[in-house]
Symmetry: C2
């Protein structure tokens, strides 16, 4: 068992929301789209190199998160991808898309248009996860509401 | 049970290789990269909207195909994605990437550089699937070698 350490670039670009199942759940800090990233606790760079049980767990998390994004953000399509050409730490993008969003119908990767979230907007997303995905989501301690 | 019908754009852009598990296996007709596409027999546009058993089956296929691409094409990274902004029929890209390929480290979606396969190259890929992924792959009848 090794300690989880988040890649520096992911840490710079995202807000850590908490745990989603056993994965770390990040919010890519661009309020133009509901763009989430799952980072499972593994040293494998490819899902097919993970242990079978961990793969199953991750696939379930991807599904639950995709469903949450689709239902809660009323998206037109969910884009799901494991790319990792630049950041090798295994991470899975789950991005809600709209037919009138800033880069539709192209993919979001490689785009630069960006609008960071306000603290209130982040709290609102955490509140939605806490109420609507309560079986899967555990907020990070800094986001806990006492 | 409905008859499977392949989206016209996928049909235009790809060669149907056969079945991989229960999904149709396509080869995107660009020999610059080992770019495969799985099309599961479903009317759902999102994996999370498929029946649980079909989801499990598809995830297993994605893993087996990713492993095949990685091992057989000796790739540096495998990019796996369900996007579907343009073609809504559910399809999953499994793309082998190299650190010196034509669009590294960017994603392949949206690129236009292309070199179609020769018939011999396609037969060679089918032969590799038949010998190295024999538990999963069933060539389409037009590719069967008598």
């Amino acid at each position: 068992m090794t300690t989880f350490s988040l890649n520096q670039q992911l840490d710079n670009d995202c807000v850590t929301l908490g745990l989603f199942g056993s994965s770390h759940l990040l919010l890519y800090n661009n309020s133009l789209l509901p763009w989430f990233i799952l980072v499972p606790p593994t040293e494998a760079c490819e899902i097919f190199d993970m242990e079978p049980e961990a793969q199953q767990q991750l696939f379930a998390e991807i599904n639950h998160l995709g469903q949450f994004v689709d239902r809660e953000f009323n998206t037109d399509k969910v884009n799901t991808a494991a790319i990792g050409n630049i950041v090798r730490q295994l991470h899975i993008h789950v991005v809600g898309r709209y037919e009138d969003d800033f880069c539709w119908p192209n993919v979001v990767w490689g785009t630069t248009e960006k609008k960071p979230y306000s603290a209130t907007e982040i709290q609102s997303i955490i509140a939605r996860l806490t109420t609507k995905a309560e079986a899967h989501f555990q907020p990070a301690s800094e986001h806990m509401i006492n």
